[in-house]
């Protein structure tokens, strides 16, 4: 038997970590806006964000391939900028993963912000806190449970991603061959032992992650973080 190549595991972890960070940076202001707006385009945006929940990954992957490919609008600009293509690269995977895991980050955050409501922030304002200050010192800590859920769900969801990655990233060792792709490859080449190890690893990891979310949410009283 070939010695087990752990490269895909590290690549998956890297991809998931970067995806979570990008999602937090983009997701926080967007979720905050959605939680507080009365704009008419809110439902349109909410539907768009939820799309990856219902679309087959192949549909998403197909459009992303067209968009990010060297002939696509985003891909062409990227080639112009960096002299390399977005498709079949790690950068392309990050963009795809962010879009694919978007609802898993936005929805828990939006729910958390909606639950807090305007009252604590009004109180903070009367206590001399500027809006940004109030957000950082009051809304964020009160939304901690939403943040933890968003981070863990989008991390785990990115780890489990397969179809979109296969279409956008292919199967390039060290660049786009993540765990799920590697397992597929092992099964195709009948290396069941390696497939078993990686699959079991992913299974146990996912279970432990979800278990820790539920334990964390149970330990902390609803409003005190």
């Amino acid at each position: 038997m070939d010695s087990l190549d752990l490269g895909p595991v590290w690549l998956s972890i890297q991809l998931a970590t970067v995806t979570v960070l990008v999602l937090l940076v983009i997701g926080t202001p967007l979720a905050w806006w959605l939680a507080n707006t009365r704009s008419r385009i809110k439902p349109v945006l909410e539907a768009l964000i939820a799309l990856p929940l219902v679309l087959p990954p192949t549909v998403l992957g197909f459009y992303l391939l067209i968009l990010l490919g060297p002939a696509g609008p985003v891909g062409r600009f990227w080639v112009h900028l960096t002299d390399s293509t977005l498709t079949f690269s790690f950068s392309g995977l990050i963009i795809a993963s962010v879009i694919y895991s978007f609802p898993f980050a936005i929805q828990p955050l939006q729910n958390a912000f909606e639950n807090i409501g305007p009252d604590p922030l009004e109180a903070a304002a009367t206590l001399g806190a500027k809006p940004i200050d109030a957000f950082v010192t009051v809304a964020s800590p009160m939304a901690l449970r939403g943040y933890v859920t968003a981070m863990i769900l989008s991390f785990a969801h990115t780890l489990g991603e397969f179809g979109v990655i296969l279409m956008v990233g292919g199967n390039i060792p060290g660049s786009t061959r993540v765990v799920s792709i590697a397992i597929y490859e092992h099964v195709e080449t009948l290396s069941y032992e390696q497939a078993h190890i990686l699959s079991a690893g992913l299974l146990i990891f996912s279970f432990v992650v979800l278990l820790s979310v539920y334990i964390f949410n149970r330990r902390l009283p609803l409003n005190r973080f």
Binding site: A125, T126, L127, G128, M142, R224
Partner: protein
């Protein structure tokens, strides 16, 4: 005396809130009126929490709002303290951190010597033993004490209190009121105090702003406003009283007899079988007192009573608690009446009942 100048309006769901008044603020001023009159909204406009309000607003020498000149000072820049009805303590912070949150962001004083002293506030509201606790573990009264302390630590020029006692039961109210009284005396900050409870008004306020249907109807000293007959329909609302358990007796000629122990109360006929037990609300202001059996009176309900207690903590009225056949009845009379009639604890008197309320209906 700082002057609050308001020329402000705000369209609400069911009416327009408008204020076009210059109010001199000193001590505690009650913003008083029926529920839904716009009292809370008025306070929120002053705090800058209603962004849709238009017009101009200034306090002392600061302009808070001027829609024409496009000025709107956000709440965090107005030198106010705000005590919300439900306290709104930050549940993720301890009491001490809640207090520090305000203290760290306190408005700078024009005169350094006025700067608020953290430990002085903690002492005067007796918060020392609560400091390490989380808001969820505090009683309603303790929460409001912390909320008052937190608002004072802003070093406000004006303290806005929105029904700070309405969520508390009577015993807790009695416990907090002295804190409000001596704190305001001690820190010399004008207070606008929203309430629809006449007892709180009479107890705490020197001045009243009377609001009804979104307008300021009258302003003046507590004594003047409460005595004005033309405002009775507003000031009498939501008055407190006592609930009595009575037993229905016979009904004849349009009159039902209700039994309170050995005493009988006659009310216009109510359609209930004899021996049914019912509850009556008798408002304190509907109970007058006589020291001798009264004659030649239109009032038909005269009960034998003993004075259990005379509460004279109020500026205008005395609140008597009476014992009528083992049940409590309350009566509000003026302090003058107590003095002139020489009312004392344990004294036997006659309680004259002008009207009772049964299932929301007034029976007189």
């Amino acid at each position: 005396m700082p002057l609050l100048n308001t020329h402000i309006q705000l369209q609400l769901d069911n009416f327009m809130l408008e204020s076009d008044d210059a109010l001199e603020l000193k001590g505690i001023t009650a913003v008083f009126g029926p529920s839904g009159a716009g009292k809370t909204t008025f306070l929120r406009i002053l705090a800058g929490l209603e962004k849709n309000a238009s017009g101009s607003l200034s306090y002392a020498d600061e302009v808070w709002q001027n829609t024409q000149k496009n000025i709107f000072l956000p709440p965090h820049k107005r030198r106010i303290g705000f005590v919300f009805q439900d306290g709104r303590l930050f549940t993720h912070l301890t009491v001490e951190k809640n207090l520090y949150y305000s203290y760290k962001r306190a408005k700078k004083s024009l005169h350094k010597r006025n700067h608020i002293d953290f430990s002085k506030i903690v002492e005067s509201l007796e918060l020392r033993t609560l400091l390490s606790r989380f808001p969820d573990s505090l009683s309603g009264g303790e929460k409001q004490r912390v909320a008052i302390g937190r608002a004072l630590l802003q070093n406000p020029q004006l303290l806005l209190m929105d029904e700070p006692l309405s969520a508390l039961d009577r015993a807790r109210k009695v416990e907090i009121i002295p804190y409000i009284e001596h704190t305001t005396k001690h820190f010399q900050i004008p207070i606008l105090y929203v309430t629809h409870n006449i007892e709180e008004v009479a107890r705490l306020a020197n001045e009243i702003i009377l609001i009804s249907s979104g307008r300021i109807k009258a302003t003046g000293t507590t004594e003047n406003i409460l005595e004005r007959v033309d405002l009775r329909h507003l000031t009498d609302q939501l008055d407190e009283g006592a609930i009595l358990q009575v037993t229905v007796d016979s009904t004849s000629e349009g009159i039902t007899n209700l039994l309170i122990g050995k005493e009988t109360l006659k009310v216009p006929a109510i359609n209930l079988k004899p021996k049914t037990k019912v509850q009556l609300l008798i408002r304190a202001k509907e109970v007058a007192i006589a020291t001798q059996p009264p004659h030649h009176l239109s009032i038909r309900n005269i009960l034998n009573a003993n004075i259990l207690n005379i509460d004279i903590s109020d500026k205008v009225f005395a609140e008597l608690t009476l014992n009528v056949s083992g049940q409590s009845l309350r009566s509000r009379v003026t302090l003058n009446a107590v003095k002139e009639l020489g009312l004392k604890k344990d004294q036997h008197v006659y309680a004259l009942i002008k009207s009772v309320i049964f299932e929301g209906r007034i029976l007189s």
